[in-house]
Subunit: 247 residues, 2 copies
């Protein structure tokens, strides 16, 4: 945790007081529970004043996720500097990995926090809002880099959500297993799944000709559609959409 | 809103007191702001006792999203009763549409709520947790129905997130436009995008053999479908699914 926190942002205050607050907070959260711990308890154990706490953390919830702000900054910078001719889907996958690196830098702390978050609804809600901000950052990058596409904004939202879901699937599986196992390999698999579904060169299933459906007679009210049994539904839907959507 | 709320769950208490609480709450939220309105203000304006409020709503946040609990129940039932031989991806798309129907049943209320939610961070967080529960319900269905696949759990999480993101993209675009425009068509497009990326018979980008319906397989059955022009795509898809799904 220390390395990740210090590395994330060189302009941060010296890490020692901040780290001692985190350490004290977690000791209390684990000993007596999150709800039962006050900010006064934390600063007393850390041996600092109450105002020092708020210098580092806006709320008690934030001390549970001390490195997310730094990680979000890192992610935003990474995406801003990503090559313009790269695959934006690959780029947001790499950006999501920054979150994994933060967790993997201190497995024990990450597993403790995961268990705590499962138990406290307020922390769960706070985590959802953190995840949402990551998702927004990824979607913004995809929107910017896919600006030429007609479906750019939709695609950006969907791909960002898929990347976050895949990332969190691999991460949570590892955390549930107590931090055991090869999380990098699981992450490769999870993000690889999304890349195959959405990666750059083509839209989903690549587009291609509409050969599946007969019909579209401009002046008639009824469209006749012919499809062989066993045709994948997505293909029929694509063609039906073309036939019904117009006029 | 009334119709949607009453229709969602027949076991709910009579809607009149509940609805007058919602109406009073929104009037106050819009007049003086969410944070500045207390539960006491709401019950005073609605002319009911404080305990009545809590009979209907666990918190002040919940009165802003009065129909989500009913919608979640409806969604869960819809998915539970979905045909075992249907396409689970299509099924979760249809389930997501129940949320749209709830919003579309009362556009004015939905737009007001959307604006309120944008302004109040606490409501935004509450909405994220509601969305998260929808996403969990969809993922659970996909996990159950895709149980045979090696990547079932990953796929379930990713597809559920993609469906929710697509749904919310169409819904938010419509809400931002003040409830103007054809939200059903936008939803067709958004969910169609996810279906094409993930739908059943094939993994992403299909890979697999079914190469359109014009292939040389003279012994296969041909399905003829009739649909009036202008039929909503989702309705056609539902019927197509039944006709093609068997084989």
């Amino acid at each position: 945790m220390g390395a990740a926190a210090a590395g994330a942002d060189a302009t941060k205050p010296a890490p020692t007081m901040r780290e001692s607050l985190i350490k004290a907070a977690f000791q209390l959260f684990l000993d007596r529970g999150f709800e039962q711990t006050t900010i006064d308890d934390i600063v007393a154990l850390a041996g600092v004043g109450r105002r020092s706490f708020f210098r580092y953390f806006p709320s008690k919830e934030d001390v549970v996720f001390p490195d997310h702000e730094g990680c979000l900054v890192e992610m935003t910078e990474y995406l801003r500097d990503a090559p313009a001719d790269g695959d934006p889907v690959q780029q947001v996958c790499e950006a999501a990995r920054l979150v994994l690196q933060m967790y993997a830098a201190d497995p024990l702390f990450s597993v403790q926090r995961y268990r705590l978050t499962r138990e406290v609804p307020g922390l769960r809600a706070h985590e959802l809002s953190v995840v949402w901000r990551y998702e927004l950052a990824l979607a913004e990058h995809l929107r910017e880099r896919g600006a030429g596409r007609a479906d750019g904004a939709l695609r950006a939202d969907v791909v960002a959500a898929a990347v976050v879901a895949a990332h969190n699937h691999a991460l949570r599986t590892w955390l549930r297993a107590g931090g055991e196992g090869d999380v990098q390999a699981a992450m490769d698999e999870a993000l690889g799944y999304v890349v195959r579904a959405f990666s750059d060169s083509a839209g989903p299933h690549g587009g291609g000709g509409t050969d599946g459906v007969d019909g579209e007679r401009p002046d008639e009210e009824v469209v006749v559609l012919l499809a062989r049994k066993g045709t994948p539904l997505w293909r029929v839907v694509r063609d039906v959409e073309g036939a019904l959507g117009g006029s």
